[in-house]
Amino acid sequence: MSYYFTVMAMYILIGIIAAWGLNLQFGETGVLNFAYVLFIAAGAYTTAVLTLGHPSANGTQQYFWGAHLPFPIPWIVSMAVGAVLGVAVGLVSLRRLRGDYQAMVMLVVSLIATYLVSANVGFLNGETGLALIPQPFGNLHLSELNYRWFFVAVTAVVTLLVFEVMRRITGSPLGRVLRAVRENEAAAVALGTNVVKMRLLTMAVGGAVAALAGAIEVQFIGAWAPAGWTYPETFGLFAAVLVGGRGNLGGVALGAFLVQGLFLEGTVLLPSIGNPDLVGAVQWITMGVMIMLFMWFRPRGVLPERRRRFTTEARTRLPLLLVRAQRDARG
C-alpha cells in the first residue's frame, strides 16, 4: 500500500508540473498547444537515451544514439530539447494563423510524431518503446521503499522550483504582457508587443517544463513507449487546467491532483470491471465529457484566475493597462 502511495504521489507531482507548463501556454498566453504531450515525450526520450548508454550495450533495444550520463545532466538536457522543440513547433504553427487553426496544426504534429516514432524502429525502438532505463539515484543504496520516497522528495523539490519560476513569470510585467496577448491580441500588437515572440517564449518555457515532467516520469517508471503519449494525454492535462482554473497556479495544481491523480491513476484502486481496455476507454470518454461540462458550466474552473485585469469588462481600460504593462516590461 505504501508502495502504491509513492506511485500516486509521483503521478500527482508530475501531473502538477506538466499542468503548470500547459497553463503558462494555454492559461496565461492563450496558446492552444494541442501537441503538449509531444514535449513530455521529448523529455522522456532524451533522458532515456542519455542514461541507457550506447545502443550496443542494450542488445535487444534499438535506438539511434545513447550515452550514460549521471543525474541531473539528462534532466537538464531534456529541458533544453523541450525548449528547442517548442520553438521549432511554434515557428511552423504560430505565425500568421488564427488561434484555433494553430491548435489544429499542432494536433496534426502530435499525431504524426506518434506515428513516426512508432513506425521507425531504429530511431527509438518503435512501438515497443524503451525499457530498463537506469534509476538516477541508484548509487545511494537505499531500500526499495526508502528509495521510492526519496525519489518522491526530489520530485517535490523540483515541483516547488517550477512553482517559484511560474509564480515569478506570471506575477511579473512579462506575465501581464502574456495575458494581454491572450485577452486582446490586436491591442497588444497596437502597443508594440511582438505577439509571435511572446508565444514562442511560452512554447519554449512550457516545452522545457513539459520535458522536465517527462524526464522525471521516465526515470521513475523506467520505460517509455508511444502508447504512453498518444494525443488524448494532452487533453488529460487540458482537463486538469480547465477543471482547476486556468491562469491560477493553485487551481491548476488542484486540477492536476483531481484529474491526473485521483481520476486517471486512482481508478487503478477500483476493482476491475470488464476488460482493461474498457476502463481506459471510459476514462477518456469521461475526460471529454468533463471538458465539455466545465466549458459550459464553469469555464473558469473551480478556482478562477484572480485579479482579472484584462477581462472583457475592463476592455475600456485595456489600452491604459497595456501601456503600463509595456512600460513595466521595458523596465
Binding site: 491548435a103 496544426v105 487533453f235 471529454g288 465529457v289 471538458i291
Partner: protein
C-alpha cells in the same frame, strides 16, 4: 515507370476517398467558421455503423449509404444540441476547437468501448481485377472512384446550380449579410453540417472498404490527410479541397515508392508544413483571408 503508374492507380483510389472527406470538412468550416477536428472520429463512427450493417447482412453499398445517412444525422444533431448552444453562449472559436476535440475523445473511445481495440473487417467480394495499362483495380475500388467523383460533382452542382447552394455560398461569404438578405442562415448551417457528416460517413466506409478493415484510431491518420488536403487547397474552399484531395491522394501513394509504406502519411504532413511555411492561406486564399484564419 510501371511502378509510378501502378501507384497512380492506388493514388486515384485514395484521392477518391479523400474527396468527399475533405469537401465535407471544408464545406462545414466555410459555413460555420468552426474547425471541427472531431471530424475524423465522426467518420470512424460511421465506418463502424457501416460494419454493423454489413454484419447484419446488408449489402456493402447499402451499408455505405446507411453509414452516410447516419453520419449526416449525427452531425446535424451534434451541431444542434452541442455546438450551436456553445456558439450561442458566446464561446469563441478558440473555445469551440476545445469542444470539438473533447467530442473527438468521446466518440473515439466510445467506439473502443463498444467494439474493442481490434480492427473489424468488411466482407469483400473476391472478384477479379480490371487492368488499365499497368494500373489494376478491383471492382470495389472502381466503385469507390465512381462514388468519390460523383459526390464531388454533386457538390459542384449543388453549389452552382441550386438556390440552396447559392444560399450556402452566401452564408459562407458573409453570414450576417446573408441573414439580412433573407437567407435562413440557421437552416443553411444545419444543412452544411448534415452534408459534411454525410460526406464524412461515406468516406469512412469507402476507406474501410479500401483497407478492408476499420479500427477506432482510423480517424487520426485520416484527419491528418484531410487537413493537409483542405489546407493545401485553402481551408473553406470547396474546389480547393477537391484539388488538395487529388494532390494529397496521389502523393501519398507515389511517395510509398520512395519511402517505405509505413512512412507514406509523412508526405501529407510534409505538404502541410510546406504550405504553412510558404503560403498559410493555401492555394485558393479567399476564405482563409476573409475569415482571418491565416494571413
Amino acid at each position: 515507370m510501371n511502378q509510378v503508374l501502378s501507384s497512380l492507380g492506388f493514388g486515384i483510389v485514395t484521392a477518391s476517398i479523400l474527396l468527399p472527406a475533405a469537401i465535407g470538412f471544408t464545406l462545414q468550416f466555410s459555413a460555420t467558421n468552426v474547425l471541427n477536428i472531431g471530424f475524423g472520429s465522426q467518420m470512424t463512427l460511421a465506418a463502424f455503423i457501416g460494419y454493423v450493417c454489413t454484419s447484419h447482412g446488408v449489402g456493402l453499398w447499402y451499408a455505405l449509404l446507411l453509414a452516410g445517412v447516419f453520419g449526416g444525422v449525427t452531425s446535424l444533431l451534434l451541431n444542434r444540441f452541442l455546438l450551436t448552444p456553445f456558439m450561442r453562449r458566446g464561446t469563441t472559436f478558440f473555445g469551440m476547437i476545445v469542444i470539438t476535440i473533447a467530442l473527438s475523445l468521446v466518440l473515439e473511445y466510445t467506439i473502443e468501448a463498444i467494439w474493442g481495440p481490434q480492427s473489424v473487417f468488411y466482407p469483400l467480394s473476391t472478384g477479379g481485377t480490371v487492368h488499365l495499362g499497368s494500373m489494376s483495380f478491383t471492382g470495389e475500388q472502381l466503385v469507390i472512384i465512381g462514388i468519390g467523383v460523383a459526390l464531388a460533382l454533386a457538390t459542384h452542382a449543388l453549389l452552382r446550380y441550386t438556390r440552396t447552394g447559392k444560399a450556402m455560398r452566401a452564408v459562407a461569404g458573409n453570414a450576417p449579410l446573408a441573414r439580412a438578405s433573407g437567407v435562413p442562415a440557421q437552416r443553411i448551417v444545419d444543412l452544411a453540417w448534415m452534408l459534411s457528416g454525410f460526406m464524412g460517413g461515406a468516406a469512412g466506409v469507402m476507406l474501410g472498404i479500401s483497407l478492408s478493415s476499420v479500427s477506432f484510431t482510423m480517424g487520426d491518420t485520416l484527419l491528418v490527410e484531410i487537413i493537409a488536403a483542405a489546407v493545401l487547397g485553402g481551408v473553406g474552399q470547396v474546389y480547393g479541397a477537391m484539388l488538395g484531395s487529388v494532390v494529397i491522394g496521389v502523393l501519398l501513394e507515389e511517395s510509398a515508392i520512395v519511402l517505405s509504406g509505413a512512412y507514406a502519411p509523412i508526405s501529407a504532413f510534409a505538404v502541410l508544413i510546406i504550405v504553412l511555411l510558404i503560403r498559410p492561406t493555401g492555394l485558393f486564399a479567399g476564405t482563409a483571408k476573409a475569415k482571418g484564419v491565416a494571413a
